[in-house]
Protein backbone atom coordinates (compact mmCIF):
# COMPACT_ATOMS: atom_id res chain seq x y z
CA UNK A 1 0.00 0.00 0.00
CA UNK A 2 1.39 3.40 -0.91
CA UNK A 3 1.06 6.02 1.77
CA UNK A 4 0.82 9.76 1.31
CA UNK A 5 4.55 10.02 1.98
CA UNK A 6 5.36 8.66 -1.46
CA UNK A 7 6.53 11.57 -3.56
CA UNK A 8 4.20 10.60 -6.36
CA UNK A 9 1.72 7.81 -5.57
CA UNK A 10 0.80 7.66 -9.25
CA UNK A 11 4.35 6.70 -10.17
CA UNK A 12 5.93 4.67 -7.37
CA UNK A 13 9.64 3.89 -7.27
CA UNK A 14 10.42 0.19 -6.95
CA UNK A 15 13.69 -1.04 -5.50
CA UNK A 16 15.87 -4.03 -4.66
CA UNK A 17 17.25 -2.64 -1.41
CA UNK A 18 16.25 -5.59 0.76
CA UNK A 19 17.75 -8.09 -1.67
CA UNK A 20 21.03 -6.17 -1.95
CA UNK A 21 21.17 -5.57 1.80
CA UNK A 22 20.66 -9.21 2.76
CA UNK A 23 23.17 -10.30 0.12
CA UNK A 24 25.76 -8.20 1.97
CA UNK A 25 24.61 -9.56 5.34
CA UNK A 26 23.61 -6.13 6.61
CA UNK A 27 20.79 -5.45 9.04
CA UNK A 28 18.41 -2.53 8.51
CA UNK A 29 20.19 -0.70 11.33
CA UNK A 30 23.57 -1.28 9.61
CA UNK A 31 22.31 0.14 6.33
CA UNK A 32 20.58 3.00 8.14
CA UNK A 33 23.86 3.91 9.84
CA UNK A 34 25.72 3.78 6.50
CA UNK A 35 23.13 5.89 4.69
CA UNK A 36 22.60 8.28 7.61
CA UNK A 37 18.87 7.68 8.10
CA UNK A 38 16.61 6.16 10.76
CA UNK A 39 16.25 2.36 10.61
CA UNK A 40 12.50 2.73 10.10
CA UNK A 41 13.13 4.70 6.93
CA UNK A 42 14.96 1.66 5.51
CA UNK A 43 11.85 -0.39 6.31
CA UNK A 44 9.62 2.13 4.55
CA UNK A 45 11.92 2.11 1.51
CA UNK A 46 12.04 -1.70 1.37
CA UNK A 47 8.25 -1.89 1.52
CA UNK A 48 8.17 0.74 -1.24
CA UNK A 49 6.02 3.00 0.93
CA UNK A 50 8.44 5.88 0.58
CA UNK A 51 10.34 7.11 -2.46
CA UNK A 52 13.77 8.50 -1.59
CA UNK A 53 15.28 11.76 -2.79
CA UNK A 54 18.06 11.47 -5.34
CA UNK A 55 20.66 12.19 -2.64
CA UNK A 56 19.37 9.40 -0.42
CA UNK A 57 19.11 7.01 -3.38
CA UNK A 58 22.75 7.74 -4.23
CA UNK A 59 23.83 7.26 -0.60
CA UNK A 60 22.00 3.92 -0.35
CA UNK A 61 23.41 2.73 -3.67
CA UNK A 62 26.92 3.65 -2.51
CA UNK A 63 26.38 1.87 0.82
CA UNK A 64 25.29 -1.26 -1.04
CA UNK A 65 28.05 -1.03 -3.67
CA UNK A 66 25.53 -0.72 -6.47
CA UNK A 67 24.54 1.76 -9.13
CA UNK A 68 21.32 3.70 -8.57
CA UNK A 69 19.93 2.31 -11.82
CA UNK A 70 20.54 -1.25 -10.57
CA UNK A 71 18.79 -0.58 -7.30
CA UNK A 72 15.82 1.60 -8.24
CA UNK A 73 13.31 1.29 -11.04
CA UNK A 74 10.01 2.73 -12.21
CA UNK A 75 8.85 -0.79 -13.07
CA UNK A 76 8.49 -3.62 -10.56
CA UNK A 77 11.81 -5.36 -9.97
CA UNK A 78 12.18 -9.04 -10.77
CA UNK A 79 13.47 -11.15 -7.87
CA UNK A 80 17.11 -12.22 -8.18
CA UNK A 81 17.76 -9.94 -11.15
Amino acid sequence: MLLSMSRNPEEPVYNRIEEARTALGLSRQDLADLAGVHYQTIGYLEREEYSPSLVLALRIAKSLNQEVSELFSLTPCKKGK
Binding site: M5, V37, H38, Y44, S53
Partner: protein, 181 residues
Protein backbone atom coordinates in the same frame (compact mmCIF):
# COMPACT_ATOMS: atom_id res chain seq x y z
CA UNK B 1 26.76 22.11 28.32
CA UNK B 2 28.96 20.10 26.00
CA UNK B 3 28.45 20.16 22.24
CA UNK B 4 27.54 16.45 22.42
CA UNK B 5 24.41 17.24 24.39
CA UNK B 6 23.42 20.45 22.67
CA UNK B 7 20.25 22.08 23.95
CA UNK B 8 17.75 23.18 21.33
CA UNK B 9 16.10 26.24 22.82
CA UNK B 10 13.58 26.68 20.06
CA UNK B 11 12.38 23.06 20.17
CA UNK B 12 12.83 22.64 23.92
CA UNK B 13 14.98 19.54 24.26
CA UNK B 14 18.50 18.18 24.36
CA UNK B 15 20.22 16.31 21.53
CA UNK B 16 20.62 13.22 23.74
CA UNK B 17 16.99 13.37 24.81
CA UNK B 18 15.66 13.62 21.27
CA UNK B 19 18.02 10.91 20.00
CA UNK B 20 16.97 8.62 22.87
CA UNK B 21 13.32 9.04 21.82
CA UNK B 22 14.06 8.66 18.11
CA UNK B 23 15.99 5.44 18.67
CA UNK B 24 13.59 3.92 21.18
CA UNK B 25 16.26 3.68 23.87
CA UNK B 26 13.69 3.57 26.66
CA UNK B 27 11.85 0.28 26.20
CA UNK B 28 9.29 0.97 28.94
CA UNK B 29 7.37 3.24 26.54
CA UNK B 30 7.14 0.77 23.64
CA UNK B 31 3.50 0.11 24.53
CA UNK B 32 2.76 3.56 23.14
CA UNK B 33 3.91 2.62 19.63
CA UNK B 34 0.88 0.67 18.29
CA UNK B 35 -1.43 2.96 16.34
CA UNK B 36 -4.42 1.90 18.45
CA UNK B 37 -2.74 3.04 21.68
CA UNK B 38 -1.59 6.27 20.05
CA UNK B 39 -5.13 6.97 18.91
CA UNK B 40 -6.50 6.36 22.43
CA UNK B 41 -3.97 8.92 23.68
CA UNK B 42 -5.10 11.41 21.03
CA UNK B 43 -8.76 10.97 22.08
CA UNK B 44 -7.79 11.46 25.75
CA UNK B 45 -5.84 14.60 24.85
CA UNK B 46 -8.75 15.96 22.79
CA UNK B 47 -11.16 15.30 25.68
CA UNK B 48 -8.73 16.97 28.09
CA UNK B 49 -8.52 20.03 25.83
CA UNK B 50 -12.29 20.19 25.56
CA UNK B 51 -12.72 19.87 29.34
CA UNK B 52 -10.10 22.53 29.97
CA UNK B 53 -11.64 24.94 27.49
CA UNK B 54 -14.92 24.59 29.38
CA UNK B 55 -13.24 25.22 32.74
CA UNK B 56 -15.09 28.50 33.20
CA UNK B 57 -18.35 26.59 33.15
CA UNK B 58 -17.45 23.98 35.77
CA UNK B 59 -18.84 25.96 38.69
CA UNK B 60 -22.15 26.37 36.83
CA UNK B 61 -22.61 22.60 36.59
CA UNK B 62 -24.95 21.06 39.12
CA UNK B 63 -22.21 20.35 41.63
CA UNK B 64 -23.44 22.61 44.41
CA UNK B 65 -19.98 24.13 44.29
CA UNK B 66 -19.97 27.50 45.95
CA UNK B 67 -16.99 29.52 44.80
CA UNK B 68 -17.52 32.14 47.47
CA UNK B 69 -16.65 29.55 50.12
CA UNK B 70 -13.02 28.60 50.64
CA UNK B 71 -13.83 24.87 50.38
CA UNK B 72 -15.54 25.39 47.04
CA UNK B 73 -12.64 27.46 45.78
CA UNK B 74 -10.12 24.82 46.87
CA UNK B 75 -12.09 22.03 45.13
CA UNK B 76 -12.40 24.14 42.00
CA UNK B 77 -8.69 25.03 41.96
CA UNK B 78 -7.64 21.44 42.71
CA UNK B 79 -9.80 20.17 39.84
CA UNK B 80 -8.31 22.77 37.50
CA UNK B 81 -4.75 21.83 38.50
CA UNK B 82 -5.59 18.13 38.10
CA UNK B 83 -6.98 18.63 34.57
CA UNK B 84 -3.95 20.70 33.54
CA UNK B 85 -1.62 18.02 34.98
CA UNK B 86 -3.51 15.33 33.02
CA UNK B 87 -3.04 17.48 29.90
CA UNK B 88 0.68 17.86 30.58
CA UNK B 89 0.94 14.09 31.15
CA UNK B 90 -0.95 13.26 27.94
CA UNK B 91 1.18 15.74 26.00
CA UNK B 92 4.40 14.21 27.35
CA UNK B 93 3.21 10.70 26.44
CA UNK B 94 2.17 11.92 22.99
CA UNK B 95 5.65 13.32 22.37
CA UNK B 96 7.14 9.96 23.35
CA UNK B 97 4.59 8.07 21.24
CA UNK B 98 5.66 9.92 18.09
CA UNK B 99 9.35 9.79 19.03
CA UNK B 100 9.28 13.58 19.41
CA UNK B 101 9.45 13.86 15.61
CA UNK B 102 7.02 16.79 15.65
CA UNK B 103 9.31 18.78 17.95
CA UNK B 104 12.75 17.57 16.89
CA UNK B 105 15.18 19.87 15.05
CA UNK B 106 15.78 19.15 11.36
CA UNK B 107 19.39 18.12 11.88
CA UNK B 108 18.34 15.12 13.99
CA UNK B 109 15.71 13.87 11.50
CA UNK B 110 16.08 12.16 8.17
CA UNK B 111 14.22 13.21 5.02
CA UNK B 112 11.26 10.83 5.56
CA UNK B 113 10.79 11.99 9.15
CA UNK B 114 10.94 15.62 8.02
CA UNK B 115 8.29 14.83 5.37
CA UNK B 116 6.07 13.18 8.01
CA UNK B 117 6.53 16.13 10.36
CA UNK B 118 5.77 18.69 7.66
CA UNK B 119 2.58 16.86 6.65
CA UNK B 120 1.47 16.72 10.30
CA UNK B 121 2.07 20.44 10.75
CA UNK B 122 0.08 21.17 7.60
CA UNK B 123 -2.96 19.26 8.89
CA UNK B 124 -2.50 20.70 12.41
CA UNK B 125 -2.53 24.20 10.94
CA UNK B 126 -5.84 23.51 9.17
CA UNK B 127 -7.38 22.01 12.31
CA UNK B 128 -6.21 24.92 14.47
CA UNK B 129 -7.67 27.28 11.89
CA UNK B 130 -11.07 25.57 12.22
CA UNK B 131 -10.86 25.67 16.03
CA UNK B 132 -10.10 29.40 16.03
CA UNK B 133 -12.77 30.02 13.40
CA UNK B 134 -15.30 28.17 15.59
CA UNK B 135 -14.34 30.22 18.65
CA UNK B 136 -14.59 33.48 16.71
CA UNK B 137 -17.99 32.48 15.32
CA UNK B 138 -19.22 31.68 18.83
CA UNK B 139 -18.02 35.08 20.04
CA UNK B 140 -19.57 36.81 17.07
CA UNK B 141 -22.90 35.01 16.89
CA UNK B 142 -23.55 34.28 20.51
CA UNK B 143 -22.63 37.12 22.83
CA UNK B 144 -25.54 35.99 24.98
CA UNK B 145 -23.74 32.71 25.53
CA UNK B 146 -21.25 34.66 27.65
CA UNK B 147 -18.59 32.34 26.35
CA UNK B 148 -15.82 33.92 28.35
CA UNK B 149 -17.71 35.20 31.33
CA UNK B 150 -20.18 32.66 32.68
CA UNK B 151 -19.05 33.30 36.27
CA UNK B 152 -17.01 36.43 35.89
CA UNK B 153 -14.11 34.40 34.46
CA UNK B 154 -11.80 36.04 31.96
CA UNK B 155 -11.58 33.17 29.48
CA UNK B 156 -8.23 31.98 30.80
CA UNK B 157 -9.27 28.32 30.42
CA UNK B 158 -9.94 28.78 26.72
CA UNK B 159 -6.55 30.47 26.36
CA UNK B 160 -4.83 27.59 28.21
CA UNK B 161 -6.62 24.98 26.07
CA UNK B 162 -5.76 26.84 22.84
CA UNK B 163 -2.09 27.12 23.84
CA UNK B 164 -1.99 23.38 24.62
CA UNK B 165 -3.71 22.67 21.30
CA UNK B 166 -1.09 24.75 19.45
CA UNK B 167 1.69 22.73 21.06
CA UNK B 168 0.11 19.30 20.85
CA UNK B 169 -1.80 19.27 17.54
CA UNK B 170 1.13 18.29 15.28
CA UNK B 171 1.95 15.34 17.55
CA UNK B 172 -1.75 14.44 17.79
CA UNK B 173 -2.10 14.44 14.00
CA UNK B 174 1.05 12.37 13.62
CA UNK B 175 0.00 9.90 16.30
CA UNK B 176 -3.40 9.48 14.63
CA UNK B 177 -2.30 9.24 10.99
CA UNK B 178 0.94 7.29 10.93
CA UNK B 179 0.65 3.53 10.78
CA UNK B 180 4.24 2.97 11.86
CA UNK B 181 6.25 5.48 13.81
Amino acid sequence: MSEKNKYYWFEGGTKKGVNALLNDENSKFRWLRPQRNRRILVVLMALGLLLTSMGSYWPTLKTNLNLSSSAGLIIYSATAIFVVLVLVGCYSLLRIAVRSIADAPDELLDERQIAVRNTSFRYAYFILGYIIMGLLLLMLLGPDLKLFEPEGEDGSYIVIATLFACAALPSMVMAWRERDI
